[in-house]
Symmetry: C2
Subunit: 203 residues, 2 copies
Amino acid sequence: MAAAEKDDARHREKMAKRKSAQDAEVSSKTVEKGLLIVHTGKGKGKSTAAWGLVLRALGRGKRIGVVQFGKGAWETGERKALETFGDRVVWHTLGEGFTWETQDRARDVAAAEKAWAQAKALLADPSFNLIVFDELNIALRYDHLPLADVVETLRNKRPDLHVVVTGRNAKPELIEAADLVTDMTPVKHHFAAGVKAQEGIEF
Amino acid sequence: MAAAEKDDARHREKMAKRKSAQDAEVSSKTVEKGLLIVHTGKGKGKSTAAWGLVLRALGRGKRIGVVQFGKGAWETGERKALETFGDRVVWHTLGEGFTWETQDRARDVAAAEKAWAQAKALLADPSFNLIVFDELNIALRYDHLPLADVVETLRNKRPDLHVVVTGRNAKPELIEAADLVTDMTPVKHHFAAGVKAQEGIEF
């Protein structure tokens, strides 16, 4: 057998083993479950990946709710694009922006409480399959909301409902309650090279 | 002054300082530039965050191209949802699936080369503002494509074009060429609890 043929045979064997391990792993997963998903970390992509999930769910005929706990002033590209899907996406922006924008703790707390009341209303509505609580981690980090109440409410969500929570510095109690947690870790950032936020990419 | 008022005053002062630092940082970023973005790491959200960027860009009136180097067989929710935007999204799935599915290296290389030819055609078309090369990192990792050619081509892209490359194990040479790199790091995964891939979340 020539060297190249041996290589090919070895490759086929290795890949066949991997495929069989992969297949066995996939078939061992049988539970259907609405997931509590957390996107945290200092890197880009936490909210962006949530919008990707919204898009994927829309393609599967699902209905989606969004409550934004921050960035209230921004009219973002993602929100505009999602208007295309009419009332299949219900979007509430109730945050007043980050706390260093408002410099008024009482106002921040009031805004977070209003957003959380809206969040609870969406959680109680059985028409939603996926709900995104964008930047909820920020409100929890600054103690604008009672952590125990939020975690308890998310633990008691409808079993088939998917919920995504975004924002850096996710609380350990929330991570403990979650099914899927990803840390978006910055490796390299263009701001360091003086490049500004780009339309269509960052807003 | 009462303790609560002192706390409020301290908070206002701290937040005012942070806001001024934040404002100064934002105004120091002046360069407009099409970004080369890499989503890598072992966690979830690499492709998903790319679809979030596509959605955001659509909301800003941009035109988007996608070449998928893997997962050819899957009819995904995100692709179906993006059909809503007509020819503003051009989508090519040219991968034949992961190499452990095919067990045939020559076929994998041929598929990657075909996908890369399509990628080059999109890069040469000035109508696109954002192009996603989904799972290109996998093709590079398995040496299905010549790394130097790919990196050189991406370095020489149109200056105002945004390109997103996804997939785990991004090559150091690609990270070096990129403007923005995020590592999606797994913290917790529901597969470990026997929960299977959920429609609308994972496909």
